[in-house]
């Protein structure tokens, strides 16, 4: 972190929106995003693994009861939408939900804390919310596209799926093959784009609102009336937005999971 601190509000926000980047151009890596997402992925696995190791058939502990509720909830949600064998899709949905939720939950950390901690190690920038980086959300939604394609091929076979691509919405007349195919491609590609942009937009906007609220308290040690009001305003608005944000992060994790399942279920339907 710069010892002098940011000069004005624009600089403060621009600093907070800059990733810790290694490399140039196409081959630039957002180290903070990669580190945080992998760390939270490991945390997801460790949390659920510890629950499964310590599970007993007797009186369950609080953690086991919570994980059981979570698993049952996700399993019911998947069962309602997806009617084939869900031994692959239900665990996938659970992973998506918990992982995206944890990544989103990094938004609730105090805004400057991750940057300060990274500053102790001599790093200049650190963005703690991996899902506020468009690379993460697109990586996840493109993986979801692979799952969707997998279920399309699995349910219809290669020939059946290609046949459907060329004949599905309008009919099998050879004149309609090209319009059918174009429409199907657009439909297929719009799914990952909308999934990724929805999650990214929500998290990015949420993060920016936290930054704007943080700016309210910037004049704390100037001891004017305005700065004092701004300081208390920061606490009140920060608390209100954080509470509202708990709803948003859970909802967005849930939506990402449900839509992945719904798209997979749509892929298995025959026309």
């Amino acid at each position: 972190m710069a010892a002098a601190g940011p000069a004005n509000s624009t600089e403060y926000i621009t600093h907070h929106l800059t990733h810790l980047t290694v490399g140039k151009g196409f081959w630039s890596w957002h180290v903070d995003t990669l580190f945080m997402s992998v760390l939270l992925g490991i945390a997801t696995l460790a949390l659920l693994y510890s629950a499964s190791r310590k599970a007993t058939a007797g009186v369950p502990g609080k953690w086991q009861a919570f994980v059981e509720m979570l698993v049952e909830f996700i399993d019911t949600t998947v069962k309602e939408v997806f009617h084939l064998d869900r031994s692959f899709l239900a665990p996938l949905a659970l992973t998506i939900f918990v992982w995206v939720f944890l990544m989103n939950a990094m938004d609730l950390l105090p805004l400057d804390l991750p940057g300060k901690i990274a500053g102790l190690f001599g790093l200049t920038h650190w963005r703690a919310v991996p899902t506020a980086d468009v690379n993460t959300t697109f990586a996840m939604s493109l993986t979801a596209l692979v799952v969707i394609l997998f279920y399309s091929f699995k349910a219809k076979g290669a020939g059946g799926y290609v046949h459907e691509l060329f004949t599905a919405p309008f009919g099998a007349n050879p004149l309609l093959w090209i319009p059918n195919f174009l429409l199907n491609i657009v439909e297929l590609l719009s799914k990952p784009v909308s999934l990724a942009m929805r999650l990214f937009g929500n998290m990015y906007a949420g993060e920016l609102v936290f930054m704007l609220i943080a700016l309210l308290g910037a004049g704390l040690f100037r001891w004017t009336v305005g700065s004092t009001v701004g300081f208390f305003g920061q606490i009140a608005m920060g608390a209100a937005w954080a509470i509202f944000h708990i709803l948003i992060i859970t909802l967005q994790a849930f939506i990402f999971m449900v839509l992945t399942v719904v798209y997979s279920a749509m892929a298995t339907e025959h026309h």
Binding site: G201, Y204, V258
Partner: protein
Amino acid sequence: MENLALIAQVQSYTAIALGLIIGLGAIGACIGIGIMGSKFLEAAARQPELIPTLQGRMFLLAGLIDAAFLIGVALAMFFAFANPLLARFG
């Protein structure tokens, strides 16, 4: 001096665009949430036993309806603080 006038022009157009993005997005999202909420209340009044099922779907749809608006807000905020159009002036 001429450059300054150009910068001011870009800034003012950007400000108008931000207002339009957020304002129109908010109108759409609010109408959507309003319609969905009223239908949910109607359905809940007619068949109270369906409330738990409907509630989950209502929240899901609320997130979907809000999403486009929030993407717009994020874009608008981005243009407000790190305007790439303005950065071209150096």
